[in-house]
Assembly symmetry: C2
Homo-oligomer: 68 residues x 2
């Protein structure tokens, strides 16, 4: 499965790494690509193991806003 | 001694922590205050132990530009 999450507040490479690290730590997340200037995060995942809600929560825990 | 270093490229709390951490790691640096939006870093230091050049180098190693 693949999804794109819109994230507000990522400003630099540290932010990119924080979001990427939080998502990669989730069991079931297979790949993460952060598009910093676009504020978009592409995630490849196994939907038998992880939910989009869990991904959104992981991003928010790092201090970023997930849009809609 | 006290100095203020102008730094370009700090955008977020992670940047602030990166700069603060790099300076604090220098022997002779006694205090660091980062003003993120102003792009200024106030450093209190013992000039018998550390040079401003060393501080500038530490900041640049973190990927930020020191102005003039």
């Amino acid at each position: 499965m693949q999804t794109t999450i819109d994230v507000r507040g990522m400003t630099c490479g540290h932010c990119e790494q924080a979001v990427k690290g939080a998502l990669t730590a989730l069991n079931g997340v297979e790949g993460v690509e952060v598009h910093l200037t676009a504020g978009k995060v592409d995630v490849t995942y196994d939907d038998a193991k992880v939910t989009i809600a869990a991904m959104r929560a992981a991003i928010e825990e790092q201090g970023y806003d997930v849009v809609a």
